[in-house]
Symmetry: C2
Subunit: 322 residues, 2 copies
């Protein structure tokens, strides 16, 4: 099986490719080649049991997607995206990368005349207030960011192209991924990871919201697990409903901090600096707190069961000294 990962330079894309390269197999199908594409050339996994190709390739440019399909990958991961904050700051770039590039990709697949599995990374950002405490499977996406609008539009496009048998698509709505490794960034959601990751390294981190904020999380390990599981499951069971809420852990900031205390000790917790930021509080107040992910769970998608498990996955996967 040939696999193409678009957006392979991102954090989740890299971890996914590491897992594919390591096992050389996905859902029982052996991998013949893994192609990693992103606007900047992705870094190949340090060890691989299979041939890995890395490409600097921008699918928002007409013709690029066609080239990526020349060896007819049977499995395509579409993870390429401009993140929420950037799509809000640069309206044109957000639509070009998050919407137009997806259209060009799906259109290129249709032109190529075969029917690969496409796994599209959507997001819980498709949901905006007002919504109930637990967002049902059939709740309307009414996004409050351009990023969310773009993801919701691509979900519709993917479902329609799948219905027309031009491709075999599945869209998975990822929870906020936590704990993200690496440096703090400018995303409004950044603090969720910062307040765990930085104290575990002995560094301070800023908490800009109240501890009552509740949100929906899964670890990078779970995100990779979702993507691997989505690769080969039988989608006929989904019928026409090819977009799935992914399972996750619903936790308040208070509960996150309690987990950190249990696993990192009070010295970690003392490194969290409370600096209320009204703007971030307002943004985060509009974010989903809990989703019904029963359909995904029935199909075998699995996330952590507690925030403790999320922190433990981070400690293991990033080899954090305790």
């Amino acid at each position: 099986m040939n696999i193409l990962v678009i957006g392979a330079a991102g954090m989740v894309g890299r971890k996914l490719c590491d897992a594919l390269a390591k096992s050389g197999d996905v859902g029982g199908h052996s991998i013949d080649q893994l192609t990693m594409a992103d606007t900047i050339a992705p870094i190949a996994p340090s060890s691989s049991s299979i041939p890995v190709l890395t490409l600097a390739s921008d699918i928002s440019r007409p013709g690029t997607a066609q080239a990526l399909l020349s060896d007819r990958p049977q499995l395509i991961y579409h993870l390429a995206a401009v993140v929420s904050g950037e799509a809000e700051a640069d309206f044109d770039k957000g639509y070009r990368v998050n919407l137009t590039a997806s259209q060009l990709l799906f259109e290129a697949v249709r032109e190529a005349g075969y029917r690969p599995r496409i796994v599209f990374a959507s997001s819980i950002a498709v949901f905006g207030v007002p919504f109930p405490e637990v967002i049902p499977e059939d709740f309307a996406p009414r996004p409050l960011t351009s990023y969310g609008a773009q993801k919701a539009m691509v979900e519709l496009l993917l479902a329609d192209f799948s219905r027309r048998n031009f491709l075999d698509g599945i869209g998975i709505r990822l929870p906020t991924i936590c704990v993200r490794p690496g440096k703090p960034n400018q995303a409004a959601s950044s603090f969720f990871s910062n307040i765990i990751r930085e104290p575990l390294k002995g560094e301070p981190a800023i908490l800009p919201v109240t501890e009552q904020i509740r949100h929906w999380f899964a670890s990078p390990r779970s995100a990779v697990g979702f993507l691997l599981h989505a690769a080969t499951i039988d989608l006929d069971r989904l019928g026409s409903l090819r977009i799935l809420n992914m399972p996750g852990v619903s936790a308040t900031v208070e509960e996150m901090i309690a987990s950190l205390r249990r696993l990192g000790g009070p010295k970690c917790v003392n490194l969290i600096l409370r600096r209320p930021d009204a703007m971030i509080q307002k943004i985060v107040d509009g974010w989903p707190r809990r989703l019904d992910a029963s359909r995904a769970q029935i199909l075998g998608f699995r996330a952590e069961k507690s925030f403790d498990e999320i922190i433990l996955a981070h400690i293991e996967d990033e080899s954090i000294a305790r």
Copy 2:
């Protein structure tokens, strides 16, 4: 006020322009000019109290929307669409006209740098089974046609452009418009109008589905009423939720026929020929039966209250001899 109607050659567009030209006023604002645009030059109303311009203009061609905005219409009706059957038969044309043209229009408004009211005619075709007997306001659009997918995508786009203050948009999900004047056409929904209109003219009409089929209707008169009402109401009351289910009449085919019997007599009903068509039955089985339109009703949108009223509106508006 300058008004631009895109899609003015269609049935609803023509009736809307007739109403605007006749009154010379919309929501208390006097109209300075009405521009009617469509891919074929629309026919101007036979009598008009205001200047009317008709243009053959295809907004799916880059640059066209910019030209239409040159005199900065403060109110833009976007009714242009390839209908459901055609969007299914011609995939490329459906996306070009129903999605790309809308993107080009909204983008042109953003470039023009002013903030007109845009009234977008969406459709209950955004909904596909499974759904509850009464579709709630916040139910997810999961369309089962490309037409529905395109309408749902433009709803998201309109809401996002509105949220960003690039335009002042409202999307209204029209019920199936019944009774459509004119000739039977190839649309799967055509029979709903045919079985009323043709017998009232003394002509036979084919009923391809069972009488238990229930669907959601409004008259052409109500559709025009919705569009006029959407022109000037205060949208701040909508917050970010700028897409509204329009009110309508939920009726079974059996109830429609009973109305026809009351208003046209048994001779009309005897002109309905039962010719079950499994394909049309299957399509129509997937259509909405009833919608919650409370938000629209609170805002003052009004439809008929019974199918008798829908037939009476047809008899009056089309000057049908009884």
